[in-house]
């Protein structure tokens, strides 16, 4: 019975995403969507993806990370370098697929490496160190100059001249100017497919022996150890998968714009905290909630641009209302009552 309920819950989650996709597509086809709003669809989806990734880390593994945009940054840059270098040699479809493979692999690798020191810490300390790593990643990428010529790759941490490139060479990462001229391969359909795949991975993981072990570590690591659960292994596993999914969001990010720079606006701790807000307001450990919260909270301030002065006021009121709706005891009771009635009527 529980398994059936879980399956139904998962199907509802996929259903919500697909419904959102269809509504947006219909609006687009019938010309009811402004070009401004059209441009927000892909970002909305990759923020939903990274919110799912962060919820795996915060809600399922129970470790507060506020540097997840760093992994998104790695996914964005590694895949953009690949796409820029191969855009004249490989056709779009396989190239974009390989860009995903590379972005996810690099983000996972860094998730693993950073996880080794970070996951030894607990609570506030872990949060602070993840924040630091997120900033380090962003700042290091801002300082890298990378180019390729007939002699192979060149790398420098100072300036373009130091690369010592042949005349036929191509500068790929130009320090703080980032990468320009990445092919814009991403579109709303692909973004939604990636979101569905991320949901599939996370929701299925939660219903497997590894997922149960991860949640056991979250609930009580001492008891988990004495039940024979290798705590370190499962922490690393969840953190790495979470980083990998954040990397996938990064691939969408970099292939949705032509000029990619590692700015604080997108990859700094402010951005990481904004995603944490999506996760907290959507419900910690509630994957579906993350998707809904990301969609609403990303679109809302953009939709309210017309109101200008009151924009942030309304945004903060919505944050408070969502918080109350999710956690206030009276609201929780009311929700349970409604859900109960609904189930009764269907039974």
């Amino acid at each position: 019975m529980a398994a059936k309920k879980r399956l139904r819950d998962n199907l509802i989650t996929y259903g919500i995403v697909i419904a959102l996709y269809l509504i947006m597509e219909i609006l687009m086809k019938t010309g009811n969507l402004s070009s401004h709003l059209k441009g927000l669809l892909v970002p909305m989806t990759y923020y939903a993806i990274i919110a799912v990734a962060l919820n795996l880390c915060v809600g399922i593994l129970g470790e507060l990370s506020i540097g997840h945009c760093g992994f998104m940054c790695i996914g964005a840059f590694s895949s953009a370098v690949f796409s820029k270098l191969t855009q004249n040699n490989i056709p779009t479809a396989p190239r974009f697929f390989l860009a995903f493979v590379i972005g996810i692999a690099f983000a996972a690798l860094f998730g693993f490496l950073i996880g080794i020191p970070v996951l030894r810490l607990k609570g506030d300390y872990l949060a602070i160190v993840t924040l630091a790593f997120g900033e380090i990643i962003k700042n290091v990428i801002n300082a890298i100059y990378f180019g390729v010529d007939s002699k192979g790759p060149h790398i420098s941490m100072n300036n373009v001249m130091e690369l010592g490139m042949e005349p036929d060479g191509q500068v790929v990462i130009n320090g703080a100017m980032g990468i320009t001229g990445t092919p814009r391969d991403a579109n709303f359909t692909i973004a939604i497919v990636v979101l569905l795949l991320s949901l599939f991975v996370v929701l299925n993981l939660m219903n497997s022996r590894d997922g149960r072990a991860i949640m056991a570590v979250r609930d009580n690591s001492i008891a988990a150890e004495s039940a024979g659960i290798n705590v370190t292994r499962y922490k690393m596993m969840a953190f790495t998968i979470s980083a990998a999914i954040a990397g996938a969001a990064g691939v969408l990010f970099s292939h949705n714009i032509t000029s990619l720079t590692a700015t604080s606006q997108y990859f700094g701790y402010n951005a990481s905290i904004m995603i944490l807000v999506y996760v907290v307001l959507g419900g910690i450990g509630n994957i579906r909630g993350s998707v809904i919260a990301a969609a609403i909270l990303y679109l809302l301030p953009e939709m309210l641009r017309g109101l200008n002065t009151y924009r942030m006021l309304i945004y903060s009121i919505v944050l408070i209302v969502m918080m109350l709706f999710n956690w206030a005891p009276a609201a929780v009771q009311w929700r349970q009552k409604v859900a109960h009635k609904f189930i009764k009527r269907n039974a």
Binding site: M1, L205, R209, A213, A216, D219, S226, G228
Partner: protein, 252 residues
Amino acid sequence: MKLLQVNNLSIAFGGLRAVDDFSLEIEKGELYGLIGPNGAGKTTVFNLLTGVYKPNEGIIRLDGEDITRKNTIEINHSGIARTFQNIRLFHQMSVIDNVKVGLTERFKYSGIEGVLHVGRYRKMEKEMDEEAMKLLKVFDLDSERDTLASNLPYGKQRKLEIARAMATSPKLLLLDEPAAGMNPNETAELMDTIALVRKEFGMTILLIEHDMKLVSGICEKLTVLNFGRVLKQGETKEVLSDPEVIKAYLGE
């Protein structure tokens, strides 16, 4: 045959010798009690047996295998499972999932199969469900399978903790004050549960307890600890009528 053999175990925290020259032998199938005043080092002995602390001196052998230097996880795989003085459940998980965590190492499939729900996943999950339900039936928790562990009443939480420990199919079960905080009815029920575990699984049990009714009711042998040292060891009746034990622990 000796299942657990502990020889001259000692550990010091700074200048305090929390456990000093502790020896213990438990036969297969025995129900053994470890008693003593607060701070005598009983829980420290459990933490030494399960690898939470490493002893300064001494040897621990389980079924002939030296487990002294192993860590908690390896010791669990060698066959010691435990419960805790303050209940440690996976409180945000359902009752059956708590038990299935205990089954993790016995029913294996790869992470890929788990994420894609293919291959051995369905078969193994089904077998895990069946095995977990079998255990829950023994502990009379099968009607609560989908309840969150934190929503269980206290007595049932204790039972679930024992069920989870049993799920790792141990050779030796350590119970740390299983009756702590229970009313007399719950304690009586717990005694039945422990008796049932012995009958159903032929389990060897070492338990720490302050409830003398429970200790004298079910333990076959006792060790009394005082200030980290063994005060008296032997058959329950003998030990409990020993004048030194009465003076140090039971009260005259």
